[in-house]
Amino acid sequence: MATLSKPPAASQVSPPGYRKVKHVPSAGSKLRTVGEHGGLASRMWVSGVPVAVVMVVLLLSWYGAAWAMNASAAVERVLTPAGNPFTWQDVLSTTLNMERPVLPAPHQIALDFWSSLVDWPLDSPRNLLFHVAVTGETTLVGFVLGTLLGLVLAVAIVHSRTLDRALLPWIVASQTVPVLAIAPIVLVILGSLGMEGLAPKAVIAMYLSFFPVTVAMVQGLRSPQVIETEMMHTYAATRWQALWLLRLPAALPFLFPALRVGIAASLVGAMVAELPTGATAGLGARLLTGSYYGNTLAIWSALVMSALLGLLLTTWVAATEHFALRHRRQP
């Protein structure tokens, strides 16, 4: 999450911040430092309450927007054909409970979401958990493969000057290219090689998630100080020992932010990979069928589900990071 705000200047040397510094906003010249030492109650006040207030405001404006965007359709399609005279209260209640609204109200999405989880068996394509399982499997397989590929590439690049000079610039440059556009090609190529189902989608998820890992690990494996590499040299450590005992541990703080980016990218890759194949399972396919049939509620439920899946996967990586680096956090 910190990757977006990472200053381009600092990316050269400093590790991406293993001090947990609370974000301290400043209001003009008033500098307040709250939350650093506060108890639970004050911490709740510092971040919990503002977030809650913003969410409530968002929810209310969503209801307002739902009313505004659905009003004309409600009058045209529901109230006028019914023939009875209607009041503005009727319009309001209709806009919030339409079958195929332009913008569904939050409670409609929540109900649809819940009923898709509860009312259908787990193997039914109407159950969102079924799609989550398909997309999640692709995402995880692609993520693991991509991380391994990224690690291997980074280790090779750090140990070979030729690869560093010849390959790394291309890997970095490929970050500026919309790689997702290659997804249909990968599907066609792997399809004509006889690979179907999980494999092509996982390959797309893989090549989206290996870039951040490679770039961050090259930086991280080079992060040990000269004095530390020289000490390994005086111990007569081999390259592999230096890699295992010094470079890899030093690179961990660089690895985890890249993994968080990588798993988010992997999820996007998995979902986009489901589009051109005409797949019937997966969150991306669910979005596509929803948009074919104009089923707005299904689209929104799938959207909420993919957001939840993204959050879950990132939280999982963050928890692993928290556990793996529990001894390193500075007080």
Partner: protein, 340 residues
């Protein structure tokens, strides 16, 4: 040809990399290396004229032998050029040479093995499709890039910037919005494309809307971080000058934020292209890079698909390079740029 072994140089770099204070040992391009590179390139272009490389006759044993020899020569020259201790130019040269050899062997092997076009067209075929369909690809480019991406990128980044500056004075809103904005990077925002298509129609405004949503949050988060980036000393100096809020913002905090803002602009340029292209997978008029890629892939017309991808890739890299140049002009005083 006598050559000094390149190994010591390769060892030296691992320590030279770790110590940025050490001045690089600048040496001109070695004469033998230059000759070897030119000779192998000349041999490669001669072999390219071989009938087997043109696909007019089946490859002979001699052809394979020559190609293998060229492969060894290619690896060797790349190693030699990479071993040169030198300026950034030498690094670019290595990458360029590597890219050239990859393209060359892609071409030769695809033709010699008669790989089906559906699987992987030769680079010459891709170039041919670029030459054959300039009108089509230009239409796609202007639809996707000039309309959807440009409008969306400008609107999204501009809105993110404006909101960040607007809530700069409201710590309550910042604390409320910032966690949500950071969370948005973990959510596949491209997935709103079907909704955007439903609301704004098949034309480019729906793609621009997706791009706005995707570019808004990175800009918001980066600008907020950038506005906090000015040092305490500098802020106190402004305070001692009795500079007001807007003066401090204009003269100190916004300039200090430029590297962050440009960082977000660069990230957003790539995100915007991805957003527009993927949004076109969900439904578009019969023009646009994403439309071209998905429909021609379904029709197995792979050289045109690759052509569209080349257009997208070149656009992405050019936009990035342009932004880097712009950043150098705008933030020439910043340590991160002066250091280069």
């Amino acid at each position: 040809m006598t050559t000094k072994p390149a190994a010591p140089a390769a060892h030296a770099t691992s320590t030279a990399r770790a110590a940025p204070s050490m001045p690089p040992v600048t040496k001109p391009l070695h004469g033998t290396t230059a000759v070897a590179v030119l000779a192998s390139l000349a041999a490669a272009s001669l072999l390219f004229l071989h009938p087997a490389a043109q696909g007019t006759s089946p490859p002979t044993a001699l052809f394979w032998l020559l190609l293998a020899a060229l492969g060894v020569a290619a690896l060797w020259t790349i190693r030699r050029v990479a071993a040169i201790q030198g300026t950034r130019f030498d690094g670019v040269l290595t990458a360029a040479l590597f890219g050239l050899w990859v393209l060359y062997f892609w071409q030769m092997l695809v033709v010699a093995f008669e790989v089906p076009r559906v699987l992987l067209p030769a680079p010459t075929l891709i170039v041919q499709s670029l030459i054959d369909n300039p009108g089509k690809l230009w239409g796609d480019f202007s639809q996707t890039v000039l309309k959807a991406v440009c409008v969306g990128w400008l609107l999204g980044s501009g809105l993110g910037f404006a909101v960040a500056v607007a809530i700069d004075r409201m710590p309550f809103l910042q604390r409320g919005l910032l966690p949500l904005a950071s969370l948005s990077s973990t959510v596949p925002l491209v997935a709103v494309a079907p909704i955007a298509v439903m609301w704004f129609g098949f034309e480019w405004p729906s793609k621009a809307a997706v791009v706005v949503l995707m570019t808004f949050f990175p800009m918001l988060v980066s600008t907020l971080a950038g506005l906090q980036a000015s040092g305490k000393l500098e802020r106190e100096l402004m305070y001692s000058y009795a500079a007001g809020y807007s003066r401090t913002l204009w003269s100190l905090r916004l300039p200090a934020a430029t590297p962050f803002i440009f960082g977000a602009l660069k990230v957003n340029a790539t995100l915007a292209l991805i957003g527009a292209i993927v949004a076109e997978f969900f439904g578009s008029p019969t023009v646009g890079l994403g439309f071209r890629i998905s429909t021609e892939a379904a029709r197995m017309n792979m050289s045109l698909v690759w052509g569209a991808i080349v257009v997208a890739a070149v656009t992405g890299s050019l936009a990035y390079a342009l932004l880097v140049q712009l950043e150098r002009r705008a933030a020439f005083w910043h340590p991160s740029i002066r250091g280069k």
